[in-house]
């Protein structure tokens, strides 16, 4: 191979420059990921070694940080993971149901004032949620729903995340209308058409919605901090924050260990659903 390249200077130069490019990209990627890798390696080191060793390979491996972090708070960490999982799962279901119903209507059916409603829907994507958070909090507190999961999941069942309606509308528009017409000729009503024809074809858009909802809800801190004040209801982000609060500048090892556990599910979904994540970003950005 080397002989071919050295005989052809253009090819050789191109190969060298391509190699340099890959080196640069890998180097930059390493710099990007270094903090994450360092956190993983630190979580496996004994406390006193974390800040003496900036390198990635621990000279001594221990799982003490994990066992210590797991039980450091009022409940074992699995308790908070479960709370987070419940809220996240219900949010995913809520978004899938409510947003797909609305999206089918916007993409396929005609009704009075449709343009106005559609414009309003798009407008709410851009709306800073802080403008509604104070009254929402007041209403939920008057309904005695603080410290329950309702303020966190009810908005999802009411299609509050209009971003996903938009995403699905864009997707349904790419499906041929002949399908609807065929279904209609076969005697299917709107509901059957939606459920039997459109919805199954929407799987990629539904997957994108599910994965994004999962990641955003799992990561969400503001509303969970706001609505969950009782340690019995804490989710992972709020629990981590309490951990940080109570231990101040100490016990970084256990804190890193629990942080890694908190990031684990996101990383898993990222690996499993990359295709949908990237496609979803690209379509909503460009379509």
């Amino acid at each position: 191979m080397a002989t071919v390249s050295s005989r052809n200077p253009v090819l050789y130069r191109r190969r060298v420059s391509r190699g340099a490019k890959h080196l640069m990209l890998i180097g930059f990627g390493l710099v990007m990921l270094y903090p994450l890798l360092w956190m993983i390696s630190s979580s496996l080191k004994p406390e006193e070694l974390i800040f003496r060793e900036p390198g990635l390979l621990p000279s001594k491996i221990t799982f003490d940080n994990y066992t210590e972090g797991w039980t450091a708070l009022a409940h074992p960490f699995s308790y908070y993971l479960w709370n987070s999982a419940v809220i996240t799962a219900l949010s995913v279901v809520g978004n899938l149901v409510a947003c797909s119903l609305a999206a089918y209507s916007f993409a396929r059916l005609n009704f009075p004032l449709k343009k106005l409603w559609f414009a309003l829907m798009l407008g709410t994507i851009m709306l800073p949620f802080h403008v509604v958070i104070v009254p929402q909090y007041i209403v939920f507190s008057q309904l005695d729903m603080i410290n329950t999961i309702w303020p966190l999941i009810l908005p999802k069942f009411l299609a509050h995340d209009s971003f996903f309606i938009f995403l699905m509308v864009q997707f349904i528009r790419t499906l041929p209308r002949e399908l609807d017409e065929a279904a209609s000729i076969d005697g299917a009503g709107y509901w059957r058409t939606f459920f039997r024809v459109i919805l199954p074809l929407c799987t990629p858009a539904l997957a994108t919605t599910a994965i994004f909802t999962f990641i955003w809800t799992w990561n969400d801190f503001f509303s969970q901090l706001l609505y969950l004040n009782n340690p019995d209801n804490f989710t992972v982000p709020v629990a981590l924050r309490t951990f940080l609060d109570s231990s101040g500048e100490s016990s970084w090892g256990p804190m890193f260990a629990m942080s890694i556990i908190a990031l684990g599910p996101i990383f898993g979904f990222f690996l499993a659903g990359q295709k949908y994540l990237i496609r979803g970003m690209a379509t909503t950005g460009l379509k």
Partner: protein
């Protein structure tokens, strides 16, 4: 071409409406016919959850918060009408409001262009049939999924802490560093770095945009003798401006509302000496720590106006630099 950004209602409605009407030759039932009435009825049924949400948790609260912003309300007592008092206090007697505005503005103005610069640069490097593209894309994209989490904010606090990673690395070179998160001069800088670190999301959008540019343009240009730089300046950049614009609008809105990072890194205080007091953190403190709900609502409305203003300026300015091809 990629010309409809479709996120702005005014732009979206006319762009989509004809497509709906044309409907690939689908005959429209006449207005008021049984069929069209049945269709409208079904459409509204499908929209019931969304309508409920729109009125109960969006429009209702918007109106309520506008009203509350003119009152003194602490959740326990009745709301007391105070007219413009909250707004007057905000602008004339509240230095923390101005500080939070300044901190957030610096954060947005510095971090968004840096983030988009990295996103565009790497998208250009990754484009055009590079081997391992999807591998690199995944690596660079990962941080933007994790960046908003509490776990990463905790990590950040430790990286830039007194005995953190940065100082451990500096110590190898014999440099003794201080805590960067506890120093008012550098604390905001660490948060800006965190934002830049999440350049993967706009990069993915740039990559999708680059793929839309027909390769024949470049072939024609190179036949005409245009070099790489010339091609970038005359083809890639102009055709990419709509996407740069889209990313800019989105990231400005998003970063103006950042909360988690500053809350965790400063332990909920916005410190040291308010140097990381993000606007939303201040709003949270006023509304849900001090329970000054009326004042917090006024803060929220100022935020809406700022964001609407920034978005408006972005759209106005876009006329001068965004290229929409021949279609507009």
């Amino acid at each position: 071409m990629v010309d409809s950004l479709s996120l702005k209602p005014e732009a979206a409605a006319p762009a989509h409406a004809p497509a709906v009407k044309r409907g690939r030759g689908r005959p429209q039932p006449p207005r008021g016919s049984l069929r069209s009435r049945r269709e409208a009825w079904a459409a509204h049924l499908f929209l019931v959850p969304w309508f409920l949400g729109l009125f109960l948790i969006t429009i209702g609260p918007i109106v309520a918060s506008l009203y509350l912003s003119f009152t003194d309300y602490s959740l326990l007592d009745e709301a007391k009408w105070v007219g413009l008092d909250n707004y007057v206090t905000l602008f004339t007697e509240d230095p923390r409001f101005w500080t939070s505005l300044k901190v957030t503005t610096i954060y947005v103005v510095v971090s968004v262009p840096l983030q988009l610069g990295f996103a565009l640069g790497l998208a250009l490097l990754l484009d055009r049939g590079l081997r391992g593209l999807s591998f690199y894309r995944s690596i660079y994209y990962l941080p933007s999924l994790l960046g908003g989490s509490v776990a990463i904010a905790i990590l950040w606090r430790k990286i830039f802490g007194a005995d953190g990673l940065v100082n451990a690395v500096l110590a190898i070179f014999g440099i003794q560093g201080t805590s960067y998160v506890n120093n008012p001069d550098t604390a905001l800088g660490t948060l800006i770095l965190l934002h830049v670190w999440t350049f993967g999301a706009p990069m993915v959008i740039f990559l999708a945009g680059l793929r839309q540019i027909p390769g024949s343009y470049y072939e024609a240009a190179s036949i005409d003798g245009a070099g790489t730089l010339q091609q970038f300046k005359s083809i890639t950049l102009p055709l990419l401006t709509p996407i740069i614009f889209f990313n800019l609008v989105l990231e400005v809105i998003k970063s103006f509302q950042s909360f988690t990072q500053s809350f965790i890194v400063s332990n909920g205080t916005g410190g040291p000496t308010d140097s990381t007091l993000f606007y939303t953190l201040y709003l949270y403190t006023k509304g849900f720590k001090d329970y000054e709900m009326g004042y917090a609502s006024a803060l929220a409305w100022v935020l809406v106006i700022i964001i609407a203003g920034l978005t408006g300026v972005n759209f106005l300015a876009s006329k001068y630099w965004v290229f929409y091809g021949d279609s507009k």
